[in-house]
Amino acid sequence: MAKLLEVKDLKTYFYTQNGIVPSVDGVSFSMEKGQTTALVGESGCGKSVTSFSIMQLVGAPGKIVAGEIHFKGQNIAQYSEKKMEKLRGNEISMIFQEPLTSLNPVLRIGDQLDEVLLLHQKLSKKEAKAESIKMLGKVGIPRPEKIYDSFPHELSGGMRQRVMIAMALSCSPSLLIADEPTTALDVTIQAQILKLMRNLKSEFDTSILLITHDLGVVAELADRVIVMYAGQVIEERDVFSLFDDPKHPYTQGLISSTPKIESQEDELMSIKGNVPAPNNRPSGCYFHPRCPKAKDICKSSMPELKGFEDGQVRCWLY
């Protein structure tokens, strides 16, 4: 089966006042059509930058310095801005973490919804409106005609995220990148949105690249999981095998340090130390200062991403 998306050795650096920040430092992974792939990792590990890189939306001072991004067999990393504009919102679309700020506050919801349709589908204004209202209904917004004429601030967070989803799906994209779509929401609302995404995924036949730091969300939604640490992919697995038998010590730590409702442990497992700042990474394996199983070799040289069984892992233990 053809890969929908294949990222090869992607490097995205930020050239800041205080030096170069290698936020994404050689990320490779692939995604199959129809799958929901989750990208997990702690704050600052480069998940968002990876997704922006795919969309070529990394703003200055960031730059993609190396790597290939194949979408449906085309290397879109080489695409011109014009060609990317055709792709964005049409073939690949995106929803963001902050539904509060991701909508333009001075434009009406309808305006912003119509915009995508007018851009990518040859619809008249009237048709676009009808389509937009239909989409609003599909994402479970009551009285869509009324919401169509509202301003973003008149909507609650959950509603806004629904609008964002409607906007992202209105051109039936092949790939939907969801950058922490539920992090800013309350649990009950989060559950609503996750359910919505699950339902819509089958209806629109969209593959989802789900970015999150919440393993719960991964467990709910993902088919495949890519774990990132400090700008790199350290483990890539099928969701079930990852939870059953995490390989990388970081993944292990991550899973066991999450408090669980079902179990009753006295002390949580915890990973000592902090995620290193991207411009301050240790030598060798970036995880070694925090790794309970670190060996000498971990301090000096960086392990390769090794494939095995149903996935890959980057660790000297294997």
């Binding site: 050239y15 006042q17 205080n18 030096g19 170069i20 000592k272 130390g273 902090n274 290193p276 700042a277 411009n279 301050n280 990474r281 240790p282 030598s283 070694h288 200062p289 925090r290 301090k299």
Partner: protein
């Protein structure tokens, strides 16, 4: 970094592009930061030179700035025909040396600039803190006072004061100071309002720290950077105000020299002896530019967001 206490600090990847400051020495950090902003550096050098010139005027100036020499009236700068090397920037309509007058004039600009900003700052910070911290009626009254001052343009306000009061340097400083305190008050008030809601102020309150202590230890130091920035920027404004007032004949009076006076005395000669008004004009412009650069750079420097989190 947290682990560093226990774990040996890792050998950091040497990155030739890494420009983050490694030193802990404050001076080195400061100097590095200064050297990174060209305009900031220009501003700093300009302001420092201005201060040096003002302080050491008697030693730097080649002539007495009020010495009249009728034999050397309106000499052009030395590079022009008829100019003399002894009067580098020429002389004015009373034969006084322009360069010396410029040098001495810097004193007034600086004194007026700095002192009136101190006056304004002191009043403004006081009212701003009180209004912002205590809120309610006190705030309401102070803010109406602020509105009152804001609804009359500064220059007009200065003029009203100066029409009534005995002229002179102290008056001028006081008037400019008193008419421009609102800038600080408004800024400090709004910062205090938000600082008051900051969790660390709340934390101090839950610990029973007294209001005066909270204001002086938690709020004042955190508004200081804004105060410094506004101050530098308003020194620039003040210098222009002083020269405008002197231009209108309401500021410093001759024979004291200020750039504003030189400009207003020289404006008559703009068409015939351009150097009289041009050099003070340039001096004002350069000074103000320098101060603005310095201020903008200070603004960046003191902005907590730009204080690189080296964690």
């Amino acid at each position: 970094m947290e682990s560093n206490a226990q774990t040996e600090p890792a050998i950091y990847k040497a990155d030739k592009y890494d420009r983050s400051i490694k030193s802990n020495n404050k001076l080195i950090i400061l100097l590095t930061k200064i050297s990174r902003s060209k305009t900031g550096l220009v501003g700093l050098i300009t302001v420092l030179s201005l201060i040096i010139v003002a302080v050491f005027s008697p030693f730097i100036a080649p002539y007495d700035p009020i010495k009249i020499d009728t034999s050397k009236i309106l000499l052009p700068p030395f590079w022009l025909e008829g100019g003399e090397i002894s009067h580098i920037l020429g002389t004015d309509n009373l034969g006084r040396d322009i360069l010396s007058r410029l040098i001495y004039g810097s004193r007034i600009s600086l004194v007026v600039g700095v002192l009136s900003v101190i006056v304004a700052g002191a009043i403004g910070v006081f009212f701003g803190l009180i209004a912002g911290y205590y809120g309610g009626m006190v705030d309401n009254i102070i803010m109406r006072l602020v509105d009152a001052f804001l609804s009359v343009p500064t220059i007009l306000f200065c003029i009203v004061f100066l029409t009534v009061l005995e002229p002179g340097l102290p008056t001028l400083i006081l008037v400019i100071g008193v008419t421009s305190w609102v800038l600080y008050a408004r800024m400090i008030r709004s910062e205090t309002l938000s600082l008051r809601e900051r969790e660390y102020v709340k934390a101090a309150r839950t610990m029973g720290v007294s209001n005066m202590k909270i204001i002086s230890r938690h709020i004042l130091p955190n508004v200081m950077s804004s105060v410094i920035v506004i101050s530098t920027l308003s020194v620039a404004g003040t210098i222009i105000t002083e020269s405008s007032l002197s231009f209108l004949g309401l500021g410093i009076q001759p024979p004291t020299t200020s750039w504003g006076i030189m400009l207003s005395e020289g404006k008559e000669y703009v068409a015939t002896s351009w150097w009289l008004a041009t050099f003070p004009g340039i001096a004002i412009t350069i000074t103000v530019l320098g101060i603005i650069f310095l201020g903008e750079w200070l603004r960046d420097l003191l902005d907590p967001r730009s204080q690189g989190t080296n964690s």
